[in-house]
Symmetry: none
Subunit: 235 residues, 2 copies
Amino acid sequence: MSDAKGIRILVVEDERPMRRFLSTTLAAREFVVVEAENLREARIAATAHPPEIILLDLGLPDGDGLDFTRELREWSRIPLIVLSARGREEDKVAALDAGADDYLTKPFGVNELMARIRVALRHGAAQEGGNVSEVLEIGPLRLDRVRREVLISGTLVTLTPIEYRLLLLLAHNAGRVLTHRQILKEVWGPNYVHQIHTLRVFMALLRRKVEPDPSRPRLLLTEMGVGYRMRDLWE
Amino acid sequence: MSDAKGIRILVVEDERPMRRFLSTTLAAREFVVVEAENLREARIAATAHPPEIILLDLGLPDGDGLDFTRELREWSRIPLIVLSARGREEDKVAALDAGADDYLTKPFGVNELMARIRVALRHGAAQEGGNVSEVLEIGPLRLDRVRREVLISGTLVTLTPIEYRLLLLLAHNAGRVLTHRQILKEVWGPNYVHQIHTLRVFMALLRRKVEPDPSRPRLLLTEMGVGYRMRDLWE
DNA sequence: AAAAGAGATCAAAAAATCATCAAAGACGGA
DNA sequence: TCCGTCTTTGATGATTTTTTGATCTCTTTT
């Protein structure tokens, strides 16, 4: 557990003894602890210099912790663990659905807390993978994410919003197969996961704009029965 | 909560009443439930057609659930929630550190379980593919689960969906004999367990694509009267 | 050595899945 | 509101995959 070195953790807790206990415990494990004793402070701390994980006590003096959770989730996926004295099932459900990643009922064991923090950090770390630069280059394709421009072997092609997002998603995952379901969920939203036909139409449109010979695709490959993939190996 | 439509969930639980309870509860919420009553079944079920989330009871008859968790984490990040009667802190820590995403102590409320499933799915959805880039290598066979690519001594072979799932299932259980029944259930679904002929046809197709000399198989071995097995020892 | 059971293989029919064009519907800006 | 653009839906033919049927091989048993 010494690998917490330097990880910023925000502790939102109004009772001083509890706050101190958490702080010293966490500091001993080499976290960098930021304290907040109410929502106002928590908001400031979370925004000014976002921590890598948040521990949130419900029942704060100046507002509802669930509101804070919902607010946070509008702009961030920072892992958040709720610590609460309330152990009723409906409290847990409410907190988890508000966007919390875990819920611990007081009193809890330190070891369990630490284990759950590790889990939350694991999730956080898993999401950061895609550190892609501003321009993607795959074979003859050149994709400028800042200017939202697409060049195919040097010449500019104009794409509609959906075409662009579709191409971007595939380029971002070049080489790996994306299922129809994944693509639809990502590009159209979770309610469209069954509209495979729409996806097919757009693949045809994209190919017409991007492939030299749309009937013999070299970049946008179909994986029969599964989905699509962008080729990433070029000799 | 009706947006669970079609989401595959694997329930690993040896006690029948509990298993039935979970199944009906989840089915009512439009999950597609896959059941396993021991680790052997769980391993098989998790491979050929991976579920989107797993519920795992510890204390199964044929092995330690934590070993299963660790095994799973070698090739996949499928969300996994442990359900256990053991409520001691050290049990929780052990499970979470083995790779579980959450830990519920029995008895638990259905609503809490559902809320925690939603959280787990949220995490799963957040990270694109869900699969760790881990390649399986068995003799001349090289199997990349992320790219969904199969190489046989260096050259790429293209497989149809069923061929791929079949090969994947065998590869994941290399060295172990799988009965016709098990294979059919996992690759084709529970309604096909008697269609042995179909399985034979596909084994022939696979061998033709994967074996140097299909009539003298070195990788995909027949276990007369029982099923098939992938060879796992190579000099 | 014949018969029976289990397995392999080839060819076809049947069923899914895909690509494409065209038309209808939705949306946004003049 | 009208028009042009973008998105969705419908219909059709082509392609690929899966299933089924028939035949042949191998092994074991009697």
